[in-house]
């Protein structure tokens, strides 16, 4: 399974004075089971890109293949694509509307026309996956805390059993613990269910901690597509386009500037700690 983008372009308000070239010749292959981070400042084209992946927006030119099938072909089933590529928008809790948690999560599978038993099974499983306990299933979604609401909204997408899960800033507005809880849940889903995950985030620290591959968008172009280490090695270029590297990467680079012989590649606290300890053992301990 894979998603392939071949020279995808998108123009808003084409052939008017407001024309904006939001995606420029995007070539990309998303493989099965990857955990990808998508970064870029506001207006760089991230949201436009992810909305192409499940067919919510149609490319002005270029082609997109889902498991080898051209999604713009006449006989392609867009409905199936949308259930296979699940998109969790920013502040997804604004989309909760049912009177109980379980009804809200069942809404998607019910629309697929599944039998009742299957709907229930999927809804319960999805809630379990996001860590919402059985004590809350009959509660009104509006009685829950911000972090719980967000998880219920994510469960609504998981109940569709997507093969690819795209999350647009799933942790915005949550407290640090709530942020870790959601990301840990997503990482677990990726590991256990082998779901492909694409995480859009403004937090370089989070991206570095969780993903295997980073895509960097700037002015509609895909300018980097590499491992966190290789992407954050270009921290100066990232700064020029309004991004940054994780704080620990700066620590390593500054140490190196001071003549301390450490590797500059760590992007997480764990890696930085190990590298500094390795140096310290040789030098001072």
């Amino acid at each position: 399974m894979s998603i392939i983008l071949d020279k995808v372009n998108y123009k808003y308000s084409e052939s008017t004075v407001y024309e904006k070239h939001a995606l420029k010749d995007i070539n990309l292959k998303i493989n099965d089971g990857e955990f990808i981070g998508l970064i870029g400042h506001t207006g760089s084209g991230k949201s436009t890109l992810i909305q192409h992946l499940n067919g919510l927006m149609k490319a002005t030119s270029g082609a997109i293949y889902y498991n080898g099938e051209d999604i713009y072909a006449k006989d392609f089933n867009m409905r199936t694509l949308r259930s296979k590529v699940g998109l969790v928008f920013q502040y997804p809790e604004h989309q909760l509307f049912e009177t109980s948690v379980i009804k809200d999560v069942s809404f998607g599978p019910r629309n697929l026309g599944l039998p009742d038993l299957e709907i229930d099974l999927r809804a319960y499983e999805a809630l379990k996956q996001v860590g919402i306990g059985e004590d809350l299933i009959d509660a009104s979604p509006f009685e829950l805390s911000g972090g719980q609401k967000r998880r219920v909204a994510i469960a609504g997408v998981l109940a569709m059993k997507p093969e690819v899960l795209i999350l647009d800033e799933p942790t915005a507005g949550l407290d640090p613990k709530g942020r870790d809880e959601i990301l840990d849940r997503i990482a677990l889903l990726h590991k256990e269910q082998k779901i492909t995950v694409i995480l859009v985030s403004h937090s370089m620290e989070d991206v570095a901690k969780y993903v295997d591959r980073i895509l960097v968008m700037n002015k509609g172009e895909l300018i980097f597509d590499n491992t966190p280490k290789n992407v954050f090695a270009h921290y100066k270029e990232l700064e020029n386009i309004g991004l940054a590297a994780p704080q620990v990467t700066y620590v390593m680079n500054r140490l190196r500037d001071q003549g301390i012989r450490v590797s500059t590649s760590p992007t997480t606290i764990k890696e930085a700690k190990e590298e500094i300890l390795r140096w310290a053992k040789g030098e001072i301990l």
């Binding site: 400042h41 506001t42 407290d175 709530g178 704080q247 620990v248 500094i276 300890l277 310290a280």
Partner: protein, 282 residues
Amino acid sequence: MDIIKASELTYEYIRRNEEGDVDSINQAIKGIDFDIAKGDFVAILGHNGSGKSTLAKAINAILAPTSGSLWVKGYDTKDLDKLWDIRQAAGMVFQNPDNQIIATVVEEDVGFGPENIGIPTKEIWERVEESLRAVGMLEYRKHSPNKLSGGQKQRVAIAGIMAMKPECIVLDEPTAMLDPNGRKDVIHTITELNKRENVTILLITHYMDEVIGADKVIVMDQGQIVMEGTPREVFSKVEELKKYRLDVPQVTELAYELKKSGIPIPDGILTVDELVDELSRL
């Protein structure tokens, strides 16, 4: 002088059933005492549901205390006659910039507040210009707000508050919806207002790195103040913060981890430079 003072401040959200009888009581703030000196930059941390936003609304007299008292610039927030004085003294900026902008041109939006309190036209325009300059948005005065970035919109919202000449600005997670650049601009703007215009700042946030420049940090948990001190004092207590569902800046955590592994560095490292200095001294 204290611009804000709370004494045994308590706020309860009371839920009533259809008959009007009390269904449940949620005590969001539980008898807290604190005072904030004029000109201070105070950060309030706490997890979702810890009572931070209720406190912010109490300071702006959107909510009146259930019991206890809260004074803003000496006015009791329970005194309905003083409502407008209180709101003029303590302006508020919310999380979502789109919910706070009402006019179709930036300068008109900023002028809306002063116009409503009957300031003469000439002075309104002076205030608009001054406020927009203070937040670094003067060149956008004729622009339409909906073409601005989130960070720019938030700065326009802050200018709108500045035009009311408040002594204190309460910001409730003003950067939660912004990208890193927008966040930096907004934090820079409020730091400058604090330093240059001597405006008292109360910043509520979930981003630990925005707090390191504050004079004082207050940590809330379950409606109570559980920690209080300078950023260095508060961030020295990594484990305690984690207990309250909070965090420390990444570099502070790295320093803490290194210390646990036997590297001699002091507690409460706040910046990359501090850690690099400590390590290169070894």
